[in-house]
């Protein structure tokens, strides 16, 4: 009797002893996460803070502006150039994203689900382009654009990114998780290969498509080097290229650049919020399968 009475107490003691180091671990985790969070938030906080400052206060490190103003926002938004660049960026990022979603997954699907001679070589060739840095490619791209007459045009800005090796690789890996039975069942049901890809396989890799969409959109939205090189006229600039030119040579107008940057994060937030839902839903769906 006494023995059984004692047992719960002992268990409780054991537990509290065991939970101490666990608490320490937890505290450490929280501290690290907190520091990480601060590091993520600081640049954004400074961007917003700077966009609310007067020019004379820009080099002051205080986070709260002494005399907050929305003057910068009215200036940037009333400046017709910013609107133009914003639209350029939107057009380029949206078209490039759609193109990547379609063509990366089409090629990835083909490489994953069809056996044909030379498949491995094609795959390795695509992968190997991942190892070449953009800086090395801009000169050939430029020469190519020049000879095709693509300089200073949307097509010139977009063409290098309409398909990416990374996206193809990502999609190929995700299609590996789609069982062949699905495709064969559809084949028996009379779908042609293109329909099988579009109607059966694509919906099953939505999470990957969402991740790719976020990745490609952000990449193109913030692209700087190539758009800077390939464009000449102010009307063709994208936001990053245009913003970098705010102010004159002697005095960079940081408060205006930060204002433009703050406004230009809005589309990326929207894209992220839209596609992130698919990622989470996809994970849930995968969990319930099986």
């Amino acid at each position: 009797m006494t023995a059984t009475d004692l047992r719960p107490t002992a268990a409780v003691l054991d537990q509290s002893a065991a939970s101490k180091p666990k608490n320490m671990g937890q505290i450490l985790r929280w501290v690290l996460l907190f520091l990480g969070g601060i590091m993520m938030i600081m640049p954004i906080a400074y961007m917003i803070s700077t966009s609310l400052k007067w020019p004379h206060e820009v080099y002051n490190v205080n986070l709260i502006p002494e005399e907050p103003t929305i003057e910068n926002y009215t200036y940037v938004l009333e400046d017709g150039r910013f609107y133009l660049w914003f639209m350029n960026s939107i057009i380029i990022a949206v078209i490039t994203t759609i193109s990547n979603l379609l063509f990366d997954s089409l090629v990835g699907y083909t490489l994953c689900k069809f056996k044909f001679p030379g498949r491995q070589i094609v795959f390795i060739a695509i992968l190997s382009t991942l190892m070449i840095p953009t800086e090395m490619l801009v000169i050939p791209w430029y020469l190519m654009s020049q000879s095709f007459g693509w300089l200073d045009s949307y097509w010139g800005i977009m063409f290098p990114g309409l398909m990416t090796a990374f996206g193809t690789f990502l999609m190929k890996q995700f299609f590996e998780s789609v069982p062949d039975d699905f495709l064969e069942a559809a084949r028996i049901d009379g779908l042609n290969e293109l329909q099988i890809w579009w109607i059966v396989a694509m919906p099953l890799v939505k999470p990957a498509l969402a991740a790719l969409a976020i990745f490609v959109f952000l990449g193109n939205w913030t692209a700087f080097l190539w758009p800077l090189i390939v464009t000449n006229s102010v009307e063709m600039y994208t936001i990053p290229v245009g913003l970098s030119g705010f102010g004159d040579e002697a005095d960079v107008a940081w408060e205006l650049i930060m204002t433009g940057a703050a406004i230009s994060t809005i589309p990326t937030l929207i894209v992220f919020l839209i596609f992130q839902r698919f990622i989470i839903r996809g994970v849930v769906m995968a969990g319930l399968k099986g």
Partner: protein, 352 residues
């Protein structure tokens, strides 16, 4: 509905032949089960019938058409896969409707057909659910529904029950059999489970290493196995095999026991003598052929299986469920002479 025939069918993957000439005629409305150990070529055969694998040589005829070069959708077949292959992003209704995509029925006719199938499979109330809201058995039923809705000449099933738990498997086995009796289409069903084969089939096709070993009714393959492989593959527990010799004077087991049978050989030859555990009992009134020590008891309720260590190998025998011999006791086992199966020692073929 139609007859299906395979003639001299072979399949090679990169020069490695995995099917070595399959010949089979399936009658209209027949339920045929392919059974055999994993890797023997059952799925490959089925997938060739479906048109999912190329035919290396030979011919497949469905009805009166040679279908070798037809697309899967044009072969008038439907297939149910092991892991269901129902689309997780579509409702049950859409999944079933998918089977009708290439059909020429009008929209109301299609809907009527879907409703009929849902009724037969008792899942009218599930039509608007997504697959992830269904149990394993319900998912498999959706897969069957998608196949049924097309009313194909031939149904192909590739191990459709192996992802289900034992109880559900037994239940679905019965359902598929009833379904067959109701709709009457020809069915080719693949499984590695001999119990499934025995319980469902009109005829069983037993395969091994890309060859057909025997084709016959469940009773045929159980009582008249064509060779030692079939004898041991069909039936659980497996048939006992003890060594012996067949000569002009008759059959002699390696323990010296002579058995009178109407079998005889002109020249003396080594044989395996097969005895089903069911036929090997402790019965002083019958022909006593083996004796040994009981090593293990397996009580099954109505009877008890005993493992007996004899001088010519371990055998499994059947003993009474209430009063089985204790482990360690010596027993003498008997069999009726006409329940013996004799197989050639080298080829394994049954000796007639």
């Amino acid at each position: 509905m139609a007859k299906l025939s395979l003639s001299k069918l072979t399949k090679a993957y990169n020069k490695t032949e995995v099917l070595h000439g399959i010949d089979l005629d399936v009658a209209d409305g027949e339920f045929v089960v392919f059974v055999g150990p994993s890797g023997c070529g059952k799925s490959t055969t089925l997938r060739m019938i479906a048109g999912l694998e190329d035919i290396t040589s030979g011919a497949i005829t469905i009805g009166d058409r040679v279908v070798n070069n037809l697309e899967p959708k044009d072969r008038d077949i439907a297939m149910v896969f092991q892991n269901y292959a129902i689309y997780p992003h579509m409702s049950v209704r859409k999944n079933i409707a998918f089977g009708l995509r290439s059909s020429k029925l009008s929209k109301p006719e299609k809907e009527q057909r879907i409703a009929e199938v849902a009724h037969i499979l008792d899942m009218t109330h599930l039509l608007d659910r997504k697959p992830n809201q269904l149990s394993g058995g319900q998912r498999q039923r959706v897969a069957i529904g998608r196949a049924m809705v097309r009313d194909p000449a031939v149904f192909l099933f590739d191990e459709p029950l192996s992802n289900l738990d034992a109880q559900l498997r037994t239940q679905m086995r019965l359902e598929i059999k009833k379904l067959h009796q109701r709709v009457g289409n020809t069915i080719v069903f693949v499984t590695h489970d001999q119990v499934e084969a025995m319980t469902m089939a009109d005829r069983i096709v037993i395969m091994k290493d890309g060859h057909i070993q025997q084709v016959g009714t469940p009773a045929d393959v159980y009582h008249k196995p064509a060779n030692a492989f079939v004898a041991q593959f069909i039936g659980a527990p497996s048939m006992n095999m003890v060594p012996g010799t067949l000569s002009a004077t008759g059959l002699t087991l390696d323990n010296g026991q002579r058995i009178n049978t109407n079998l005889a050989a002109t020249t003396q030859r080594v044989v395996h003598v097969g005895i089903r555990p069911d036929d090997l009992t402790i019965n002083p009134n019958a022909l006593q052929i083996l004796s040994g020590v009981v090593t293990v008891q397996e009580p099954l309720g109505s009877e008890t299986l005993i493992y007996v260590d004899t001088e010519i190998g371990e055998v499994i025998a059947k003993a009474d469920g209430r009063t089985p011999p204790d482990v360690g006791t010596r027993v003498t086992l008997s069999v009726a002479a006409n329940n013996l199966h004799v197989f050639d020692g080298e080829t394994g073929e049954a000796v007639q």
